[in-house]
Amino acid sequence: MVSPILELNNINKSFGHVHANKNINLTINKGTIHGIIGENGAGKSTLMSIVFGLYQANSGIIKVNGNEIKLRSPKDSIVNGIGMVHQHFMLVENFTVLENIILGFEGETIFGEKLQKAKEDLKKLCETYNFNIDLDSTISDLSVGFRQRVEILKSLYRGAEILILDEPTGVLTPQEVDELFKILRSLKDEGKTIVLITHKLIEIMDLTSEVSVMRQGEMVGHTKTENTNKEKLAEMMVGRSVLLRVDKPEVKRGEVIFKVNDLTVKDDLDVIRVKNVNLEIRSGEILGIAGVTGNGQTELLEALSGIRNVESGNIELFGETISHKDNYLNPRMLKEKGLAHVPEDRQRMGLVTDFKAYENLIFGYHDQEPYSKSSIFNQKEIIQYANKVMKEYDVRPSSPNLLTSNFSGGNQQKIILSRELNENPKVLLVGQPTRGVDIGAIEFIHQRLIDMRNKGAAILVASVELDEVLSLSDRIIVMFDGKIVGEKENKNVTDRELGLLMAGVTE
């Protein structure tokens, strides 16, 4: 007998003028794995945050097991058996696993026997689900996969009957994803209800029995998974037939312009993140780096763009060594040599959101003519240039004097892209080019990158979205644990092949 465990009726939520959830109706049945799919900005996370009590809905009713409840804070949700595993883990780095799990549920003011009992209870839970976690280990010592287990354990310990997971596989290798799915299936078999928020169609098809589709704040469809397929879901998600591949003409590849020899790079905590990496890029080619977040791509890109020191090995541009251990060519000098970089984290690195749009459009090039002469700005030239590129790249709204924080994610990304591409770089390094960007802008950005490549630039694209890598690259390399574990021409390569490499399974 299938009965609803969670019902949402006419849920509305606005943030200022942004209507994030519009009249959402949703019924989740007990003991099922229910998928909620939609692209970035569809409103899925907002909706689930309401269910978990982090936000309050502006209107609408929530029912658990048929009873209407008010969810004013996470405490209310937890009491009603709702648990959530967030995209960014809610863990205190320097606490132990045990401390993280009991936080807020200590059961006593002064630590004593309840702590002991909690430890025993948790050990039992771990055994039941085969979690294999050491309760006294510190979070900072754990891998991402294990941290996620801690999050799940936390929800279970607090008595969750409904477990919501928000984009759980973003940071996992395909193998870790399989393990997660095993855990979720066994939880379901035990009678728990799972809600899976994702934008990955393959997960929906693999795991769920029911799926709801959200688009632009609305619930646009609901179906049993067995009655649908990836193409139908994609169309519901986007509202039109999606072009999953961009047109890429064959282009003759030129010489090797950019070469990386035996590069080793450390991160801020002195841990080696890039291990003896060799790669080369020719003019007129896009080299894609596939890999799960955290396998060294970030540090590699930072080293290549002059932000991070090189531990050993060197980098060559047009045959000239531009970076090695004792010589650190900074971003400014690299720009002069024709190298441009579109960073992974645009808000943290690529832009100063408090600046006006035109100030960001010259960011990194501000000391060059024609923007400034002897360190004094030429306002007229700058505005002229700003107007030109904002039109060219369809940045909306196209006013150079507007504060950058007022632009959407996609338009901010376009500002960065227009800035870097305007210099006609010979080498372009790009990290996560379409993260947090809406689908219309994604196509635009991909096309621009292809255009650059057609004009003869050597482009490096690192992306955690396998689709994007397959779509853009002429050649693909896979990074795992700081090393290049595979290199393939982008002809008839499959997701599964790359997935195995991404998990460190070499041929």
């Binding site: 943030f15 200022g16 003028h17 763009s305 002059g306 932000i307 900074n330 971003p331 400014r332 000098m333 720009k335 970089h341 960073p343 943290r348 690195m349 690529g350 832009l351 100063v352 959101t353 408090d354 600046f355 100030e359 960011f363 990194g364 501000h366 000391d367 400034s372 360190s375 004094i376 700005f377 306002q379 507007l402 504060l403 007022n406």
Partner: protein, 373 residues
């Protein structure tokens, strides 16, 4: 707590930058009035005295402008560092040491033509003030030592250092009190009194002097530096988003040092006013709290020269009018006005957004109504 959300793009600049600061100021003054009342005096009377003391007669007004001069320097000093997200609380110490620079140059080079002495003494002020800001800047950048604590410590150290020098090293040995000899009269900066005298107008003594013009010039200089040059741009980038600045090839270290040194140099210019223009010698404690007031001036003026000028002027009124109050009202001492400063920093700085949403949404709605009708 209200949950008003305002579309920021629709708020006119004069609402955010004039109306809201005025409301914050009024709140501070309101609470100040309460304090004056608690101290046993009539706040309304106090206000009347302040207005009379600062505007009511020419000499009073001249004093007001003299104070304004100092506040412009220290306000600009705090503001410049703030654009790089650095809280330079060391204006007092930097002004003190800047004064030392002025004096040392002037007394030793007094044989040179007068305008050259002025120029070199001013440079001395800037260099010495900048030098006193350099170590805290370096420690913040390289060691992460919080610049608030280090600059406050350097204020204390400057005080000890200057007392030592004034007592043991450069004292005017003919006098008991710790101060230096007077500079030769030729190199004194012409005072307002003297200049008016040249025009045939007789005015009573006031400390207002030519340095006032230097202060006005500094306002332009800072505006130009911060918004029209690459150095100001880089400072602001580092201040808003250090990570992004590194990405763009901007050096945080270099800009932290530059911002703090310019800041220290501006504070040092206070020495030009006090030593070349007013007392013509170094007296112990001459920074007299101007450095701290500069913080309030900068925050009230939203760290922009256009705001700092009226804010400095307002504080000039408070100081000059305030001394009239302390003269007439036995229960109020100058420390009451230190408290007023604290309130202004509180309402213009920490609580600046207390009523911002209500004010901004009020104006946005009112303007929309007008447009529609």
């Amino acid at each position: 707590m209200s949950n008003i959300v305002v579309d920021k793009t629709k708020v006119p600049w004069w609402v955010s930058n004039v109306i809201v600061p005025l409301v914050n100021l009024s709140l501070a003054l309101l609470v100040s009035g309460i304090f004056i009342f608690i101290a046993g005096e009539n706040p309304i009377e106090a206000v009347k005295l302040i207005i009379f003391g600062s505007f009511g007669y020419i000499q009073g007004f001249a004093y007001t402008l003299y104070y304004t001069t100092n506040f412009i320097f220290t306000g600009l000093a705090f503001a410049v560092a703030f654009h790089c997200r650095l809280f330079n609380i060391g204006g007092e110490g930097q002004a003190y040491i800047g004064g030392l620079g002025v004096f040392l140059v002037a007394i030793n080079l007094s044989f040179l033509p007068v305008p050259i002495v002025w120029l070199l003494a001013t440079l001395g002020a800037i260099l010495f003030g900048a030098a006193w800001a350099y170590i805290p800047a370096y420690l913040q950048s390289k060691r992460g030592s919080h610049v608030v604590i280090t600059t406050i410590m350097f204020n204390f150290i400057a005080s000890s250092l200057m007392i030592y020098l004034l007592v043991d090293v450069i004292r005017d040995t003919n006098q008991m009190a710790p101060h230096t000899v007077k500079l030769p009269e030729e190199i004194w900066l012409p005072s307002f009194e003297a200049l008016s005298g040249v025009l045939g107008i007789k005015i009573r003594y006031s400390p207002l002097n030519l340095t006032f013009l230097l202060a006005i010039a500094s306002l332009f200089f800072v505006w130009f530096l911060i918004w029209k040059t690459r150095w100001g741009y880089e400072m602001r980038a580092v201040g808003h988003n250090t990570q992004a600045a590194i990405y763009a090839g901007i050096s945080p270290h270099k800009n932290i040092i530059i911002a703090m040194c310019i800041s220290g140099g501006l504070a040092g210019l206070l020495g030009v006013n006090e030593i070349l223009g007013v007392s013509h010698k170094i007296q112990a404690g001459f920074p007299a709290g101007y450095g701290f007031t500069g913080i309030a001036v900068a925050l009230m003026g939203r760290n922009h020269p256009i705001g700092i000028l009226p804010a400095a002027f307002l504080f000039g009124i408070l100081y000059q009018g305030g001394s009239e109050v302390t003269f007439e009202m036995p229960n109020i001492t100058r420390y009451m006005f230190v408290a007023v400063q604290g309130l202004i920093i509180l309402f213009s700085g920490a609580l600046e957004n207390l009523f911002r949403p209500q004010i901004e949404s009020f104006f946005v709605n009112r303007l929309n109504r007008e447009v529609r009708s």
